[in-house]
């Protein structure tokens, strides 16, 4: 190959007369070339969208992102008062932070020039404008291909729909190991949920334990803030899930089911150990607790872990209060309740059952016997709707019925009596518990059911949780919604034959609030027995008259300070429904808070 020529290089001379390819100075200095539509330039962050979760900082391979607390931002459900600051002394412009941003707020702009002799200017808190407060087009942004989150939940296993309305078998089977790992792997550990959870449970930590397969550690985390994980893993109102940042763009992590996965799958020994290991010291101090509901149990347990001697007084035969006598078996099996309460008992809390304060022992006596008293007596007196014939003896109320039902399902009582055609009035979770329990009883006994459910509001505005509404319908409960009861109808003999209802309509007013208006038009819904589940009231009979007059009680709630201490009575603490309501996890939180408060109070006395 003699492919050479002295003259061939000279061909390059043609470029002497051609225009150079150099980018004009103007396009370099005055208005630098626009970067591509996909360019990974400096960050921009839409503060209105950003929830301060800090996931960007977690994924950052360079540790470039720190979450800075911002003065003036307020922490709220699902929002942290923090915003990401980026260190351009670290950033590698990989845009993984953009791809994983839970709230879709972080992006990268076309801006790419920052020059300074001051190193501090390279530490940058992005907002919707760029590093020089000049607006640039947004370039790199996440799309569904570059998505780094897993937005969809992994389905939890349930028992088959057919036939489940004929037994009290638990509806949800729980996660398999594989599914639990998959679900746990969706968590980004931002911890936004912790703020929202009334008990401030260590949610990211125990999810991490699930993901790492260390259930013992998970159980330890649970007992840090909640001694009723079995219960809460099943019937918690899971506010945490509404705060979960994954819910910003997809489905939130199934936090409740993961908690349940831990309690269901931790070997029993480990679980007991997790509960009891925390009780390490003994203090000379005694606390009496009124009511063994969630608040009482929680308070008792945490006082115990601090070393106090704790007695819990319970009117009924078994401790547990609402979790033992309220929730239906198909949601919360007896075994779960027993496991939790047994663990608390194993930690050294003493239960004094069948003893009602105010009847068997006076509050005064308790005050003398104990260094402090915690009252969590709950709401057990049913409310009665103000309708015609409201005092008819054929009308039954939820607390009593549900307690009977529980006694039956745990084999400690007969099946409650009920008619073949029943009407349930309500709208909240409890009314659904009643309706579904009745539905099951009827089918078990008669093979058929006729449960009619009356509520003022349409389906989407019911106070009960979504799943209750759907499942009850599936199970065969008949809905009469948008109807407001006006009278219980009696025949000549004085027996009930139905309920008269007025037709209602719920509309949105200008401010976006739902408003229910009922017309004069009436309708009769037939049934021979009426169950009312429209809420309960407290029973403060155990307070002596003198004390009661000094208590501040507003709408049935006793006023207490941050730690649950009743104003004017430093030795008395209160929590649960009589202070706050409305759910179990809040009660647990109250109990824990009160325990800390009692400890501080007693320590201050010494």
């Amino acid at each position: 190959m003699k492919n050479k020529s002295m003259f061939s290089p000279l061909k390059a001379w043609k470029y002497l007369v051609k225009e150079p390819v150099t980018i004009p100075k103007k396009m370099v200095f005055d208005e630098p070339r626009e970067a591509s539509d996909n360019y990974r330039g400096f960050h921009v962050n839409d503060w209105d969208k950003c929830v301060g979760c800090g996931t960007c900082g977690e994924i950052c391979p360079t540790n470039a992102i720190t979450m800075l607390p911002i003065e003036g931002l307020v922490e709220s459900d699902g929002h942290k008062p923090e915003r990401p600051a980026i260190d351009y002394g670290r950033c590698s412009f990989c845009a993984l932070c953009v791809d994983i941003c839970t709230s879709d707020s972080l992006a990268m702009s076309k801006e790419y020039i920052h020059i300074s002799k001051d190193a501090d200017t390279f530490y940058f808190l992005p907002d919707s404008k760029g590093i020089h407060q000049v607006e640039f087009d947004i370039a790199y942004n996440r799309d569904e291909v570059s998505e780094l989150l897993d937005l969809n939940r992994y389905e939890i296993e349930e028992i088959p729909h057919e036939g489940r309305n004929q037994s009290f078998m638990e509806l949800i089977k729980g996660y398999s190991k594989e599914m639990a790992l998959a679900e746990a792997s969706r968590c980004v550990e931002c911890g936004v949920c912790t703020f929202t959870c009334p008990a401030h449970m260590n949610i990211p930590e125990y999810i991490r334990s699930v993901w790492q397969g260390d259930l013992k550690e998970g159980a330890d985390w649970l007992y840090e803030t909640n001694p009723l994980s079995n219960v809460c893993g099943r019937i918690c109102t899971h506010k945490c899930e509404t705060a979960c940042v994954l819910g910003q763009r997809g489905e939130p992590v199934a936090i409740r089911w993961l908690k349940r996965y831990i309690v269901d799958n931790t070997p029993e020994g480990d679980f007991v150990e997790a509960a009891t290991a925390k009780v390490s010291r003994q203090i000379n101090g005694r606390v009496g607790i009124i009511g063994s509901g969630p608040a009482g149990l929680s308070c008792g347990y945490y006082l115990r872990t601090m070393g106090y001697e704790v007695d819990i007084y319970e009117e009924k035969e078994l401790p547990g209060g609402v979790i033992r006598y309220g929730a239906p078996e198909y949601r919360l099996p007896e075994a779960s309740v027993k496991a939790d309460i047994d663990n608390i008992e194993k930690s050294g809390v003493k239960f004094i059952t069948g003893t009602k304060v105010g009847r068997d022992i006076s509050l005064e006596a308790m005050k003398n016997k104990y260094d402090a008293v915690f009252s969590a007596s709950g709401y057990w007196i049913p409310k009665v709707l103000k309708i015609d014939n409201k005092d008819h003896p054929g009308i039954r109320f939820s607390p009593h019925f549900l307690a009977e039902a529980r006694d039956f399902t745990r084999g400690m009582g007969p099946m409650p009596q009920f008619h073949e055609d029943v009407i349930v009035i309500g709208g909240g979770d409890v009314s659904f518990d009643v309706a579904r329990t009745l539905n099951r009883f009827q089918r078990m006994k008669n093979g058929r059911a006729n449960v009619r459910f009356i509520a003022r509001k349409p389906e989407e505005h019911l106070a009960a949780s979504r799943e209750e509404v759907v499942e009850a319908k599936e199970e065969g409960v008949v809905y009469h919604l948008d109807r407001s009861p006006t009278a219980v109808l009696l025949d000549e003999k004085g027996t009930i034959y139905g309920v008269e209802v007025a037709l209602c309509e719920t509309v949105m007013d200008e401010s976006g609030r739902a408003k229910t208006v009922c017309s004069e038009e009436k309708e009769i819904i037939y049934g021979t027995e009426v169950y009312m589940a429209v809420g309960n009231d407290p029973d403060f009979v155990y307070f002596p008259e003198a004390m009661l007059s000094r208590l501040k009680i507003d709408r049935n709630k006793i006023a207490v300070n941050q730690q649950g201490q009743v104003e004017g009575f430093p030795w008395l603490f209160a929590g649960g429904d009589i202070v706050r309501g409305p759910d179990i996890i809040s009660a647990v939180a109250d109990g824990h808070k009160a325990a800390v408060g009692i400890d501080e109070y007693l320590m201050s006395l010494k």
Partner: protein, 369 residues
């Protein structure tokens, strides 16, 4: 004559990158020489053990700055093998386009850059300027000029932007037209041929002794030894291309082969654009959950691709956790860059030292890691 110590690099203009060769020189002849690597050592293999599988995406391209994409490819291939993931069809083709564009860019730099050790700076200016056009395409596709972070485990990070195919084809036409001009300027120049023909030989035995791969190997052993042919990855088995090979490897042949390879790259890209599915998914998930918690099943696997300088491979070990347990990098130019410098640079004149480095394809960052 007295023997003097000289060092080529690290800040010697004849050295590409931060690399050094210590030479014991007598007159103009190199008697003895040692490579002094490590100026670019960042401890990648250690750092990779400390980052998530996804977080490593930011790290891997930085191992070799000249041609970062093979890094992303071998990393992705390893994880896909370990996790048993099927990559979507379209993603395979996009990957091929990216890899070949990267090869094109690296080769443009090389055929232009060959001007530097021989003093023909015009070709350097041309080569780098033309390479910049490839980078413009990269910027449009991937969002960055140099470190693309585009080939991800499971596919590619984003789909191709609309209309980029025409732009790529336009660029290919331009480069194809430019190649003869480079050839006229550099390769057909008698002075260049005087310097490079029969100079800096790479006999077959040396190839096997050192473990040289890539163009150096093909030009010496007279076989089409290329990973793309021997163990095709992506969809290289579905495109037609043939690579140059020969029995006699001198500096000139090795540069000459780069021109042929570039023509082949251009042809592969054209075929890919034609054959690739026009739509469809481009990424499969490698694991459940958020990227913070991706896990790769335990195992050990070695993956390799053909970079512009030869076999480029990663040994990836996973212990089933969210971070790699160990990743070892086989830089393509490791053999010639270290043992080659020690054994075969001596015997050449110092005039040829930087030409030796250049035509052997010594790339410092991938050796140092």
């Amino acid at each position: 004559m007295k023997e003097v110590k000289l060092f080529l690099g690290p800040q010697h203009p004849g050295m590409h990158g931060n690399y050094s060769a210590h030479m014991y020189v007598e007159g103009d002849m190199i008697n003895k020489s040692y490579a002094l690597p490590g100026m670019l050592h960042r401890g990648f293999e250690k750092l990779m053990e400390r980052r998530h599988w996804m977080g490593n995406l930011a790290l891997i391209p930085r191992i070799c700055v000249i041609e970062p994409d093979p890094n992303e490819m071998v990393y992705a291939m390893s994880i896909e093998k370990l996790a048993g993931i099927e990559v979507p069809e379209r993603a395979h083709w996009i990957r091929m386009i990216i890899l070949e564009l990267a090869r094109l860019a690296a080769n443009l730099m090389a055929i232009g850059g060959i001007g530097a050790p021989v003093g023909l700076y015009t070709s350097v200016y041309w080569g780098v300027a033309d390479r910049d056009l490839v980078l413009d395409i990269f910027e449009k596709i991937t969002g960055a000029r140099v470190y693309h972070m585009y080939i991800v485990p499971g596919g590619v990070r984003k789909d191709l932007p609309e209309g980029i195919e025409e732009e790529i084809l336009g660029l290919l036409d331009y480069i194809e037209a430019r190649l003869p001009e480079f050839y006229d300027l550099v390769m057909r120049s008698p002075i260049f041929q005087t310097r490079t023909r029969d100079n800096i030989l790479l006999p077959e035995e040396v190839v096997w002794e050192l473990g040289v791969t890539g163009i150096g190997m093909r030009s010496a052993v007279n076989k089409e030894y290329d990973i793309r042919k021997v163990k095709p990855y992506a969809r290289y088995d579905q495109v037609a291309f043939s690579l140059p090979y020969g029995p006699y490897s001198d500096a000139f042949t090795r540069v000459d082969f780069k021109y042929v390879e570039m023509a082949q790259s251009i042809s592969i890209i054209r075929q890919s654009i034609e054959k690739m599915p026009k739509e469809g998914p481009v990424r499969a998930r490698i694991a459940t959950g958020s990227a913070l918690r991706w896990r790769v099943p335990p195992g050990m696997v070695y993956s390799c691709v053909e970079s512009a300088r030869g076999e480029y491979g990663y040994l990836v070990v996973s212990d089933g956790r969210e971070m790699p347990y160990r990743i070892a990098v086989r830089g393509s130019s490791y053999p010639q860059g270290l043992l080659g410098v020690e054994k075969y640079l001596p015997g050449h004149r110092i005039d040829d030292a930087s030409l030796w480095m250049d035509t052997m394809g010594v790339c410092a960052p991938e050796i140092d890691r």
